[in-house]
């Protein structure tokens, strides 16, 4: 919403200064986006200095000039003027400028093989004089310090640009803005004087509104103006239109636009001679077409509100007119329309056809249904003044009465909501200034809502009106109370925060990536989840919700690798989506790690990252989260995007069905498909939703502190087992032989190859044996040794290696 201060003052009697008005606008909720002059086309003309003028290599009469236009670099301009010479101050027009004399638009062009950026102008070209023999010569004493400045003074007024919230259609007109300001104490709203227009008789074109179901038009006012002379608008009107950054078209169009901007009353002018007999406001039928003023042909569906005549559709009511009945400079007779269209209908139609116009914007927010006549009056008056003509009586067709909405307002509600008190009298005055009719009944007000305020329907709306006009700065700042109803975080949230930092503490950089991803990458990690397409993606490579945390991590690790980084650890904690209904999502931690450990290290040998790095980070994270390592159970099962032989899943308990985590090397085919260039790539995923809280709180779960001071003994064993036999099982077998004696089992070597049968492997382990009752004798140790060997051999089919 744009307007000038002068325009505002046509409606508002005020002594306030510009900056006070600006401040007050923001204070009452009409946010000022900017207050500045609209740039004019003439801003393209700059004072310039010729730094150097040389003969054009291919043309005798042309010169190539280096011109200082006040910027860092000079520009090259080819010029044919005999007076173009070094040190001359002149006027430069850059590419894009329009030369006032002939309306020629400049472009960057090649003149006889030399590129010229713009033009040096003669006085004649600038409409300053008839002098056209050479370029403008500017006086040194007046212009020497103005190089680069605009040559023409910008005479346009400063324009206020307001950002109007959707609830305030009334402030899409200057008068509405003035009314708010007046209510807030910035002067007085001027009364619109009664415009007496002599009418020349009845409006002779019949207008009817059909009683179609969901008819989008409820009132259609019109008048016929005969014998007009359409022309260019007078200067004052042109200036107004230009100052808002719009283009003047013709007096009739400019006047309808002016009334719209002034009163937020959209109008439409038809060339009355192009209307076939009568106007019928009706619902469209599927397949009807018409050419709109934006020169596009629209194909209509059923039930769109159209203005039509005997031959067909003239326009979409309240949205856009048609070319068939548009006014032109030779238009003699016009039919002026001032109607009311229902916001719902406007919104539906414009969405279906994807049209956005100024009229649509206003009707969809709600126009004052009682502004039909004032709109016709103001426009007719201006038209007859500027274009002449005779105005008919106003014809107002209406299928529904305008309802005057009333509400009851308890004055005490104001203090209850706003937290401060103001006098009843002040409340009443504010409301009266805003256009309410107020009747006071004890502590209650009976209010008639002004018809231009479709946003007001209940008492809370009245509270807002009063508090915003009174000023939000009157609201007190109350110290917050520190009482608590509930814990800040629940258990799952605590876990989230803990795990987030736990993973980062292992050298991973946390990243946050989109919840959507490229379906092509997503498919590599999707497994059995449903693909969830976004109907209107921001780009075709962000077209689905992610089914896994890996697509984005893989994509970005590749990007970083391509930047030249080699050893990268990234993780993200966030949602993945199982399906497209609310809640069908899981929270995951995904980590990914590339390259080597100890690359370029002077004292440690480097090695590629592998599955056991991923496993370490996974297991350690779970341990830190409070899960007992002894209960964690590993299986080989893992999703297909992991290396089938170098990956696994983690279960909180041996008997659990659902894993809480996966870890492993990323499948080599995926690394290849995504063209990820690294020595090795591993990853892990932890499912927060499956980390069910089985534990007691720490304070309840610590067991009694017990330790043994008796001598510890270590024994080493090497067993030859089947290649497929799991180390985890071997440890489990030994540990459970005698839990009171066997304190720990550590694997220190795994060997395959020479001296071991092909389908076997050797696992060497160290067992710590300690009693809590006595120092074990050699014979006790021998006994347990034998027990270990025999148990392992029976349970696993292993053989002790001698």
């Amino acid at each position: 919403m744009k307007f000038t201060i002068d325009w505002l003052k046509e409606h508002l009697d005020t002594k306030f200064k510009d900056n006070q008005i600006i401040e007050k606008l923001t204070d009452v909720g009409l946010e000022v986006e900017s207050f500045e002059k609209v740039s004019s086309e003439l801003d393209n003309f700059k004072v310039a200095k010729i730094i150097n003028a040389e003969q054009h290599p291919n043309a005798d009469k042309l010169k190539v000039c280096d011109v200082d236009i006040g910027e860092q670099n000079t520009v090259k301009v080819v010029c044919g003027a005999p007076n173009a010479k070094k040190d001359l101050l002149t006027v430069y027009a850059g590419p894009g400028s329009v030369i006032p004399k002939n309306n020629m638009k400049l472009t960057v062009s090649k003149i006889r093989g030399v590129t010229s950026y713009g033009m040096l102008c003669s006085e004649s070209e600038l409409n300053l004089s008839d002098e056209s023999d050479g370029i403008t010569e500017l006086k040194l004493n007046k212009y020497s310090d103005k190089v680069g400045k605009n040559f023409f003074k910008n005479n346009t007024e400063k324009v206020i640009d307001l950002s109007i919230t959707p609830n305030r259609p009334d402030c899409l007109g200057v008068r509405g803005v003035a009314r708010d300001l007046a209510a807030a104490g910035v002067g007085k709203l001027k009364i619109i004087s009664n415009m007496k227009i002599k009418n020349s008789g009845p409006q002779k074109i019949t207008v009817s509104i059909t009683k179609d179901k969901n008819q989008g038009c409820t009132i259609f006012g019109s008048c016929l103006i005969k014998d007009v002379t359409n022309k260019e608008s007078p200067k004052w009107l042109k200036d107004k239109i230009i100052s808002l950054g719009q283009k003047p078209i013709s007096a009739i169009v400019d006047i309808t636009n002016y009334v719209m901007l002034d009163l937020n009353r959209p109008l439409h002018a038809y060339d009355a001679d192009k209307i076939d007999k009568e106007i019928i406001v009706r619902n469209s039928k599927k397949g009807e077409t018409f050419e709109a003023l934006d020169n596009k042909e629209y194909k209509l569906d059923n039930d769109m509100c159209v203005i039509s005549d005997k031959s067909g559709v003239l326009g979409l009511g309240g949205i856009i007119g048609g070319t068939r009945s548009g006014t032109e400079f030779n238009t003699k007779n016009i039919l002026l329309e001032s109607a009311y269209f229902l916001p719902k209908s406007i919104r539906k139609t414009s969405k279906l056809l994807n049209i956005d116009t100024d009229a649509k914007f206003r009707f969809e927010r709600g126009i004052d249904p009682q502004s039909i006549e004032i709109g016709l009056e103001k426009a007719a008056q201006l038209i007859t003044k500027i274009c002449g003509g005779k105005v008919s009586k106003f014809d107002i067709q209406s299928i529904r009465k305008v309802k005057k909405n009333k509400i009851k307002f308890k004055i005490s509600l104001f203090e209850k909501i706003a937290g401060f008190k103001i006098k009843d009298k002040e409340v009443i005055n504010i409301l009266i200034d805003l256009g309410f009719k107020v009747t006071k009944k004890k502590s209650e007000l009976e209010l008639t809502i002004p018809t231009w305020r479709p946003d007001i329907s209940q008492p809370i709306d009245i509270v807002e009106e009063i508090v915003r006009i009174k000023g939000y700065n009157n609201i007190e700042t109350l110290e917050p109370e520190k009482n608590r109803i509930k814990d800040t975080l629940n258990k799952q949230q605590k876990l989230f925060h803990f795990l987030q930092r736990s993973v980062a503490s292992k050298g991973y950089f946390e990243t946050v990536t989109w919840s959507f991803t490229d379906s092509k990458i997503n498919n590599l990690f999707r497994e059995n989840y449903k693909e969830i397409k976004i109907v209107n993606p921001i780009s075709s490579d962000l077209d689905v919700l992610r089914n896994s945390i890996f697509p984005n991590l893989a994509f970005y690790i590749k990007k970083n690798l391509d930047r030249g980084f080699k050893d990268i650890s990234l993780y993200e904690i966030g949602p993945i989506f199982k399906d497209n209904n609310p809640g069908e999502q899981l929270t995951l931690i995904g980590g990914i790690k590339s390259g080597k450990i100890s690359r370029l290290n002077w004292n440690e040998k480097n090695r590629s990252v592998d599955v056991f790095d991923a496993k370490k980070d996974t297991i350690q994270t779970l341990i830190e989260a409070g899960y007992d390592r002894h209960n964690l159970f590993i299986r080989e099962k893992s999703p297909s995007y992991y290396h089938p032989g170098k990956s696994g899943s983690v279960y909180l308990d041996k008997d659990d069905i659902d894993p809480v985590a996966y870890f492993g090397e990323i499948h080599p085919n995926i690394i290849k498909k995504l063209d990820i260039k690294t020595e090795a790539l591993v990853g892990f995923e932890i499912y927060l939703d499956y980390l069910k809280d089985k534990k007691l709180k720490l304070k309840d779960s610590k067991s009694k502190f017990q330790f043994s001071d008796y001598q510890k003994s270590d024994r080493d064993f090497a067993f030859v087992v089947d290649k497929n036999f799991k180390a985890q099982d071997l440890i489990e077998i030994i540990s459970s032989i005698d839990q009171s004696l066997i304190k720990s089992v550590k694997i220190f070597d795994v060997y395959e190859g020479e001296n071991i049968p092909k389908d076997k492997k050797s696992i060497a382990l160290n067992v710590t044996i300690q009693s809590s009752e006595k120092t074990l004798e050699e014979s006790d140790l021998e006994k347990i040794n034998k027990l270990i060997i025999s148990t392992v051999e029976t349970k696993s089919g292993a053989k002790i290696r001698s």
């Binding site: 809370i460 975080l489 919840s515 109907v535 050893d567």
Partner: protein
Amino acid sequence: MSDIKKIKHEFLHKLNADLNIESINQIKSELFGKNGKISNLFKNLGSLPTEERKKFASDLNFIKDELQEKINKKIQEIEIKEINSKLDNEKVDVTLPERDIVQGKIHPVSQVIDEISSIFSEIGFSVEEGPDVENEHYNFTALNTPDNHPARDMHDTFYLDDKKELLLRTHTSPVQVRTMLKGKPPFKIIAPGRTYRSDSDQTHAPMFHQVEGLHIDKNVNMGHLKGCLNYFIKSFFEVDKIKMRFRPSHFPFTEPSAEVDIGYELKDGKIVIGEGDKWLEILGCGMVHPNVLKNVKINTDKYQGYAFGIGIDRLAMLKYGINDLRAFFETDYRWLNHFGFDPLDVPSNYRGLSR
């Protein structure tokens, strides 16, 4: 008598020389060995007359201790000397680099969410969450934004079905609705999370983060709202004084509604919060619209309260001098390293929000 003195002097003299460990052991055995001089004297104790014996034994013990001590001292000296001479050959270049530790980082958005949670925790708010995928009821209709409402246009919504019923939430406000539906007033919650709009340029990302606030109780008014936000902003920016301006605005789900600006100035191209005469919009808020409360079956005669929504990414940018929003989500290793936080740096109210 003179015998022991002589021995003493002789050996102390010997021990004062520059000796190696072998010669000391030699001396040791000469004195205390099986046929050592002192050992022999002890053996002879028995042959002395009783009256002399006591005195002699005492003197002998005295000298024995003295010599023994001297020898021990000497041995220690030599051992230390030996270690010291070894150390001279054990010198390394300590300016060589230490072993690698890879330091992990917390993303600024996560850090700021923790900061925000910590601040609101202090004044009794708890954290709620809601799904990223919403239906249009929770995202719009229940929040007093019916289908034909122009405000829906201002949210460039990502849809997941052609009927436009399923969508990615455009704000965290649906969590208000979900929270109120599943519980009973009073409510005092914040809800941080991801939000989505199909808008993308330097200052808009298709995904960003918001924190929703909701406080519903019997007498919660706009003064409480102002106080709460004033407290939050002061705490968050870690300044004593803040210039804050409430400006009337419009959101369908609050009435009256406000946008909040904070004062700032530019110092050396950096934004300094709290001073200056420029205004920066940082959040939207208001009193929860009675229609919203009715939609979740709360008695509006009894309960009322406020809600607010704050852009988390924007707060992070302001506090930590980050100027490009899109960079938050581009996973540039250099950026993460530069703006990321040490995982041990957990914001808390007793240790302070930030270092």
